[in-house]
């Protein structure tokens, strides 16, 4: 068996500080503090594409379910004929 890791999963990274600094609480917010309303415009779903519809149709379903104007998928999973 070959180790099942993509290149980025093999690189170990640490965080180094160049310049210590505080961030002002008044601006922005930590991603995990976003509300659903904010996530609907600035979020991503790790979706399991079902067999049958095209990738494009699936991202249309997502739009309709969530009542939003825009959704885009990454990388077409072709339909096997």
């Amino acid at each position: 068996m070959i180790e099942e890791k993509l290149p980025f999963e093999k690189i170990e990274r640490q965080v180094i500080t160049k310049r210590e600094s505080e961030t002002d609480k008044r601006y922005g917010k930590r991603p995990e503090e976003r509300t659903v309303k904010e996530l609907l415009d600035y979020g991503v779903i790790n979706l399991q594409k079902p067999e049958g519809p095209t990738s494009h149709q699936v991202s249309d379903y997502v739009q309709r379910i969530l009542g939003i104007d825009k959704a885009g998928h990454s990388g077409t999973l072709e339909v096997i004929k």
């Binding site: 890791k5 965080v15 996530l39």
Partner: protein, 252 residues
Amino acid sequence: MTGVLPVALGKSTKIVQALLIAGKEYVCLMHLHKEIQQSQIQKSAKELVGDIKQIPPRKSAVKRQERTRTVYYLNIYDIEGKDVLFKVGCQAGTYIRTICHNWGKKLGVGAHMAQLVRTKAGPFTDKDWTTLQDLKDAYEVYKEGNEEPLKKIILPVEKAVGHLPRILVLDTAVDTLCHGADLSTPGISKIHTNINKGDNVAVMTLKEELICLGISRMATEEMLKQEKGIAVTTERVFMDPGTYPKFVKKKD
């Protein structure tokens, strides 16, 4: 075909660009056209790893021109008669259908792809995916006033760049980046190790919000040492200008 399909919402849709070029993993069921000794299949599998040349299949969206792709790993899980189940990790844009076709040719019996499931797309895996039904249910619950289930399903856009090295910048550097400016070294607060010149990087605030994606112009060590110069050229901006205040450079 089924599998991991990251879907980005609203103004974050262009984040899919970062995922298109990320590595992928698939589980594939290949059907051989004649039975052949298992040991031969096992042996030939080793030759499919590394740099391979492919011509995209007829029905693909790209030009049918030979190109090189890297297969990072390929492991056989099961062989039953003419059916071979395997898992493959590969560079973006690798055609598994073509791997099956060429593998069958190599074995001298012919083969085709019978089933395919994508199990990884960059940082997203089949371990924590969501079905359309789960999404529908969670949205109903949200409409009734409970946003917790939906909050577990819709991940912050930052999750989609989890495979990229990151650079965190000072509050004072954020707004100019939002306007599309490049990142210069004095704006850097924290930085990942092992960044090389030319890498795709995610530039973030100290609260770890995504500001923009860019290409590093220096390696980590140089970014730490230099007090002037461009560290990252900005490619795609995600954060709206005005999220952080505008800071005017003090004149000495």
